[in-house]
Amino acid sequence: MKHSFHYEHAAARLMIEGLPDYSLGHDDAVLGIVSGWSLTLVGAPELEGKREHLLALMEAVLPYSRYVLSGVDGVFGDVTGPVSIQKIDNKHVISLRSSKEGIEPLQIMLDDAELSDLVRCLDDLRFDPRIMISWNLPRDQPLPRNHVVGNIPLAQRFGVPLLGTSFFALIASFLLIVPIPSGNEASPPQTIKSLPNK
């Protein structure tokens, strides 16, 4: 029994088709084998492909959205593989490369709203209990410190340490100017008043 599931959010529409895998004991209501999928993004050509292509799209877009959430840019997905995504001029550019020779890579430019629509469609797909497929996607993790710190402006990164260091240097140089009292200087004679004898 062939199934077709749709996931739709404003500018993105994802359709997946497939069959249950009876060899693994699936019942008729679930999808275990992907026979095809298509993705329609408003203002972009319809995309179709195999399961591997859908997986490549998820592997690029979902980690990218995780980094966007932290305000960190970068290129995600294999730049020589079927899908990669990066931010160019405030647009999210998905580059799609066909395995067939002679076909130029296709670039789809998404704004923030379209990216979030696409991410929601992919989320809906991977969390759909009717889809019995293990996508083996990496779990969302906190970013490494060097990724986060590299995104902070230099003035903000080094401002406070620089201020602290210069303040310390200023105090130290001031203290160097202050003369240290030498030990061989004669101390002023102390007058000791003799206590009256009782």
Binding site: H9, G36, P129, I131, R139, Q141, V148
Partner: protein
Amino acid sequence: MRFWKTTKGGCLSDRTPAIISVVIESRPTIKLLQKEFLHLPSLCNTVISMHKAVLGRRGLERLDLLLLAVETLDLNGGEAMLWTSSQIGLKDQFSSRVELWKLRCHNPLRKSTRRGRLSTEDSDSLISLVSSMAKRLYPVLHQMLSAKEPDDVNGERWLLFNQRLRDLIEERMNLRRGAVQRLLENKYSSSISRQLVLTLALSAGPGGVDRLRASLLDPIP
């Protein structure tokens, strides 16, 4: 355009990550995870370690700001949050507006701040609440982020959003703190507002909770 050739394919294996994520969505999680997935120690440890992680200072600030952005978008945000929390099974954590307010007061930038850190359960509840509210407000978020909306209409939306967010910040945050002053500076406020709205949009839906939690746990100095 047919970009990739469609052929029959695909494979099937166990669906443990999906199951685990569903379990995470339906709190309380950690004990259930440990009980249910004893046979997958490495996978469970990764998930559990992130769930046990306590939000740092920056994470608390961002979480409270996201809730503030929700209140900015929804005039009746306080009541909507309570209603949503009862809908997603968090009525015990947020029994009243005061309980919610007490949790939010862990933000060190607030006027009336509370010492100490949020427990993992409380922070997870707040993250789930943000995600659910973002899902509820998604049409508005989409409009604000869309480049296809008319510029003048969207400009007014952003103007109104920025003004209301500024009012809420002035009302609730400690204005003597440098971080709060930076939030109010015109130079930074619009980019911060946009990042807040984008964060809410990407936090909506089933995968948004994990994404947002991971983002709040970032080691921001």
